[in-house]
């Protein structure tokens, strides 16, 4: 191991860094890691191919080609999913309603391989004790559960205040 090889390693590492920076920038902020499980996998692929390049087990050109091919397919995928609802449904998950108007949708839960305990745990994390408080809970494509509260269970909003105010006393404007 001579000093030249170390210098080359440093050079290759900086090159790989800036090249990936470019790729991530071109792919856009939502496409690497942020939204779906598959975006995370793409991030993992991009992170995983580089050791051979940096340590010089494959040539820079081979590495660049592999990264570009992954990036191009991911771009094509996200573009097609944007343009066509069919492809979006095909390649990405679609939302599943798991609680509707206080009723747990057992069929949908089963379809998503969730059990009630997991659902209750998610609801508790959102500060919801009783599914009756929920107007709609949805398992979203990114794997998180969104909770829309029933009207009566929502915290008081400013608009409610003016309604209540108009019943009792007129607000000074």
């Amino acid at each position: 191991m001579d000093i030249n090889e170390l210098l080359l390693t440093a050079l290759r590492a900086s090159f790989v860094y800036f090249f990936l920076l470019l790729v991530v920038r071109v792919l856009g902020k939502r496409e690497v890691g942020a939204t779906s499980a598959f975006d995370l996998i793409v991030a993992l692929i991009l992170g995983e191919v580089v050791d051979e390049i940096i340590y010089g087990d494959v040539t820079i050109l081979q590495g660049v080609v592999a990264i570009v091919v992954v990036a191009v397919w991911h771009l094509v995928n996200s573009w097609a999913s944007f343009k066509s609802q069919f492809i979006d449904k095909l390649t990405g998950a679609s939302p599943t309603v798991v609680v509707k108007n206080g009723e747990i949708q057992r069929k949908n839960l089963a379809k998503e391989r969730l059990n009630e305990e997991e659902l209750f745990s998610e609801l508790r994390m959102m500060g919801v004790e009783d599914p009756k408080e929920v107007k709609q809970a949805t398992l979203e494509p990114n794997g998180k559960i969104s909770v829309l509260l029933a009207d009566w269970a929502k915290p008081v909003q400013y608009q409610d205040l003016s309604k209540a105010g108009s019943k009792t006393q007129k607000r000074k404007s």
Binding site: T9, L20, G28, G47, Q136
Partner: protein, 164 residues
């Protein structure tokens, strides 16, 4: 190839301490605020290690490769926090997706974001309809931020005139 266990223990420990030191120096407190590039760099780091563990590359080469990536990333993030131009080059700017209850189609188009996607981001923030939103942005880290419309906000103390 015969791998002796003491060698593995030595290399793994050394790389662990080296990584710990460099990460501490780089000043990343947590992984809560990860940009796409932070994530990719994190993955690269993990990727660079195993080759050293199994002695597929010499220790020195591993130290240099890993150090270079971390230092370059430090340099770039440091520059982009100081210079507008670098920030503009490295990060894509926050884009407004909803303004005063209306979708900004041009920006949705620009980000290749379907309305369904925006809808689920809103639901995750407890908002059912763009109507109730004053402003939603796609932030540089890739998350969607939602500012509720004034009438839709929970009551604040100032509304009850507890504060003036």
């Amino acid at each position: 190839m015969e791998l002796d266990l003491t060698g593995i223990i030595f290399r793994v420990s050394l790389m662990y301490l080296y990584a710990l030191t460099l990460i501490r120096i780089s000043g990343k407190q947590s992984i809560g605020q990860l940009s796409s590039m932070d994530l990719v760099v994190t993955l690269i780091i993990g990727d660079l290690f195993d080759d050293v563990f199994w002695a597929e590359v010499p220790l020195a080469q591993g130290l240099v490769g890993f150090g270079t990536v971390i230092l370059t990333h430090m340099l770039v993030t440091c520059l982009s926090s100081r210079s507008k131009l670098t920030d503009r080059l490295v990060n894509s700017p926050a884009r407004v997706l909803i303004q005063d209850g209306k979708l900004v189609q041009e920006n949705l188009q620009h980000e290749w974001m379907r309305q369904e996607t925006l809808q689920f981001e809103l639901r995750l923030q407890g908002e059912e309809h763009p109507r109730g939103v004053q402003e939603a942005r796609l932030e540089p880290e890739g998350q969607t931020s939602v500012i509720k419309a004034a009438s839709n906000k929970p009551v604040q103390k100032k509304d009850l005139r507890l504060f003036r």
